[in-house]
């Protein structure tokens, strides 16, 4: 029994690790004797990685980027939630504001970088505003959709019992809309990472995007590759953290769906 289980685990590990390991080896071998300046050997990149990033640079470039992303993202989520609940609750409000939102949301967020630069310069504020302006839409629109899809019978029950505003919000609206809200927050996270990088590529004195462009312009190719890899790792790590938080906060919802699927 236990050996069966062990085999099962080994098999799953092999399936999960097989292809990534294969790709890594393929990259390592195909680049090992590479003479091309654009594709340096992987061994070279990995050696440079430690030199470049395990240095004061991590405090100077990586941490400021992540802090800006963190603050911008959380502000966007708060703003999107507040507006989304207000808009979702009123039909008339929705009808008036929907075309406006349709338009504002359709503007690709990177084009706002030059505008914010005019108003607040190229400091942290500009970058956070860009991140907020891009991340707020998925959260906002999904919150509106989630609030609209709330159970109407429950809503009437709450009205009959004259449950107060705060309790209504906390025990009914937020939990009911949370699966949708999380779907929006997930979209917002990947947009936020993109905007973090782009806002720094434009004009900055520090940050991940800034160093990446610096490496490229000075033809420091192995260093540039380490930057690309680091950005990839950050993307993966943040997606992983997000999934963890989602699984924890929406455990009731995933459980509900699973039991529904099994019973049907």
């Amino acid at each position: 029994m236990s050996s069966d289980r062990a085999i099962q685990i080994v098999r799953q590990m092999a399936l999960a690790m097989g292809l990534p390991a294969l790709l890594f080896v393929a990259w390592w071998i195909s680049s090992s004797g590479s003479e091309s300046i654009f594709f340096p050997p992987l061994s070279n990149i990995l050696r440079t990685f430690a030199d470049v990033w395990f240095s004061p640079r991590i405090m100077h470039d990586v941490v400021p980027s992540l802090v800006r992303l963190f603050i911008g993202y959380l502000s966007a989520v708060a703003l999107g939630l507040a507006l989304g609940i207000a808009i979702g609750a009123s039909r008339r409000m929705r009808q008036v504001i929907e075309p406006v939102l349709e338009f504002l949301r359709a503007i690709p967020p990177p084009v706002l970088v030059p505008i914010f630069m005019l108003f607040v310069g190229i400091g942290d504020m500009m970058k956070m505003l860009v991140i907020i302006s891009g991340c707020v839409w998925p959260v906002l629109l999904n919150t509106v959709a989630g609030v609209r899809a709330l159970d109407s019978v429950l809503e009437e029950v709450i009205r009959c019992y004259r449950i107060g505003m705060v309790a209504r919000l906390w025990y009914f609206v937020l939990p009911g809309a949370s699966p949708q809200i999380f779907a929006g927050m997930r979209q917002a996270l990947s947009i936020g990472i993109i905007l973090m990088v782009i806002s720094e590529m434009f004009a900055a004195s520090n940050g991940l995007g800034f160093s990446l462009v610096q490496f490229q312009r000075s033809f420091a190719i192995p260093e540039m590759w380490t930057g690309i890899i680091l950005l990839g790792l950050i993307g993966i790590l943040l997606a992983f953290i997000f999934r963890f938080v989602e699984n924890w906060m929406l455990a009731w919802y995933f459980g509900l769906r699973r039991s529904q699927r099994e019973s049907s």
Binding site: L15, A16, M17, G18, L19, P20, L23, F38, R92, Q95, V96, I97, E98, P99, V100, E102, F103, L104, R105, A106, I107, P108, P109, P110, V111, L112, V113, P114, I115, M117, L118, F119, P179, A183, R186, S190, I193, I194, V197, I198, M201, F202, G209, L212, V213, F215, Q216, F219, I221, M224, W225, G227, I228, L231, G232, G235, I236, L238, A239
Partner: protein, 254 residues
């Protein structure tokens, strides 16, 4: 009556955009009134460079989206219909998908400079995952009973794909196309803005660096309008391709 209220909302936005700079709350130089932007827009659309920039942007958007959708659909169906392939590729897909495509900007700048290829690589990388993930969900959603029936009747591999997998997957694919269309536009404009490949993004950048701020706002408005048109077209396409399916459609939760 819905659309009357909607138009009211849009007019309200225009009034705010006109009144705020005129009141002096923000500098009219940095934030021109709505009417000034509209006049600049009218002048801009008479220039040939505007239309060629628009054409370039739409070209890389459409090409990139088409490549991503075809690749996503074919690879998605191939991976999705084999349990072994699905399990072996899952971790790799989970790993590659969150890598932000903008990380590739320095690399494509060095390799291809300000050519269409740079745009295409960024656009395809970003929108491919949107399609692939949805198609994978779609293929897994195929009714097992239908799949086994098809096998019992000895439908060939191709017939199984055509008559069993494809109809179930199509709605998911369409959701993927809609998401990918918006992402592809964002990445196209971004590439033009940051790398400097010809297109609306580059025009915007030029307007900003030369201090022609009202022109800069013209391009912001134009990209917004294109975004709206893309969204509307994507929804119309969904309705046109599967009129039989508008009520069952939901976005898959990854």
């Amino acid at each position: 009556m819905t659309w009357v209220r909607g138009i009211g909302g849009l007019i309200g936005l225009a009034i705010v955009l006109e009144a705020v700079p005129r009141s002096g709350a923000v500098s009219p130089l940095y934030f021109p009134p709505f009417s000034t932007i509209m006049v600049a827009l009218a002048e801009e659309v008479e220039r040939a460079s505007f239309w060629s920039a628009l054409g370039k942007t739409l070209e890389s958007w459409a090409l990139g989206l088409a490549i991503a959708v075809c690749a996503g659909a074919v690879i998605g169906i191939a991976i999705g219909s084999s349990a072994l392939l699905r399990e072996t590729t899952r971790s790799t897909i989970e790993f590659l998908r969150p890598i932000p495509s903008v990380a590739l900007i320095p690399l494509v700048t060095l390799l291809f400079g300000t050519t269409l290829k740079s745009n295409l690589i960024l656009v395809v990388y970003a929108s491919f995952w949107q399609v692939l993930i949805q198609v994978l969900y779609g293929v897994q959603d195929v009714d097992p009973l239908a799949r086994e029936t098809a096998r019992s009747y000895r439908l060939s591999r191709w017939e199984q794909i055509r008559y069993v997998i494809w109809p179930t997957t199509l709605p998911y694919l369409m959701t993927g196309v809609r998401l990918a269309a918006a992402v592809a536009l964002i990445l196209t404009i971004t590439a033009e803005l940051v790398i400097g490949t010809p297109g609306l993004g580059k025009e915007l950048f030029l307007a900003q660096t030369s201090g022609a701020y009202e022109i800069m706002y013209v391009y912001v408005v134009v990209t917004g309008i294109i975004g709206v048109i893309v969204n509307v077209l994507a929804r119309a396409l969904e309705r046109a391709v599967m009129p039989w399916h508008s009520s069952l459609r939901t976005e898959a939760m990854p």
